[in-house]
Symmetry: C2
Subunit: 221 residues, 2 copies
Amino acid sequence: MNRLYHVALSPFCRKVRLTLAEKRIEVELVEEKYWDPSPDFLRRNPAGKVPILKIDNRFLPESQAICEYIDEIHPTPALMPRDREARYEVRRLCAWFDDKFNAEVTRKVMGERVWKKIMKKGYPDSKTIKEGLSAIKYHLDYMGWLLDQRRWLAGDQMTLADFAAAAHLSCLDYISDVDWNRQAAVKDWYAKIKSRPAFRSLLQDQLPGLPPAPQYAELDF
Amino acid sequence: MNRLYHVALSPFCRKVRLTLAEKRIEVELVEEKYWDPSPDFLRRNPAGKVPILKIDNRFLPESQAICEYIDEIHPTPALMPRDREARYEVRRLCAWFDDKFNAEVTRKVMGERVWKKIMKKGYPDSKTIKEGLSAIKYHLDYMGWLLDQRRWLAGDQMTLADFAAAAHLSCLDYISDVDWNRQAAVKDWYAKIKSRPAFRSLLQDQLPGLPPAPQYAELDF
């Protein structure tokens, strides 16, 4: 059976989970505490990160490479457009969320509020959290601007870019750090994506000692 | 005319320059001091980063998305393999160098030794440099292990993965921070890639006040 080594509130793992679920590829989820790695884990992935997809007895790391690979071996439903300009746009936006949004928002807010607690690495730093919560406003506005012109983030079809963005926002939503009233277009977009069957497994995640915010699993939020 | 907004010793800009040159796509290079951005620059790229490729009157940011786009619109010579497993491997290795190598080596060594000086942001921190110079050994050994089994990093043909790796190593070589005698296979690989016509423009780079190390432009190093 295929396996995904992951942690519940990692946006990179979530992007892969959404991609697999949208394609109806079944995987067994294996929680992997990568901050306390077993020798076995490092043998599977010398980079020491999650996600790792075990498929056809190979171990594949790197979320973006995994998602594009899955899309190439299971092309339906397509998560990469056929048009070359549109493919560029999907890749640009995936990098936007996985690099820029991650550095400016996710790592600051989730890093301080969630990961320090789970990894037992001290107390949250309120200055860093504040910086993250200030930066998210700009990102929501940018998404709102895109979604005023397009049905989905990268164009008129749902793509990997939507999964990359939703993966980050859903982690922040778990701890209630997304102001859904800031941009109506973003809220509508998230409601659409959240109600997909592929999203269900994410909405069932529970971290021990850190229950999700009340609206987290609600389709009407 | 096509333009590339770049800075000379950025590995991300170099990956794009190598890709463009290998495909014989002419571009005008425009130096862009992104740490002191003009309003014009931020209009071209809200992420405030380099490289940005101006092509057909569009402004394209994000190095990996740019390179894959160039490879799709100018497929010859191919820098992405046709085989899906091989494409995965190229993308995995690009992420290895642009994320992991960058965080563990380039940002530490170049950040302290070069960028602090150029951006006038204080004095180099020797502890950080030491960490970077210690981490590079592991990366050279990993490359050596790959190249003992393959002609190029991702397989038997030269790909974007080789350009990603060479882009980082060439920046470090400018300040003489690569021990080419550590892994014979890596030295042979770098000699092959350094002697390509696509590499020439990189070897002519000169930072004001920071001349390159003597071996930097030598094909016999």
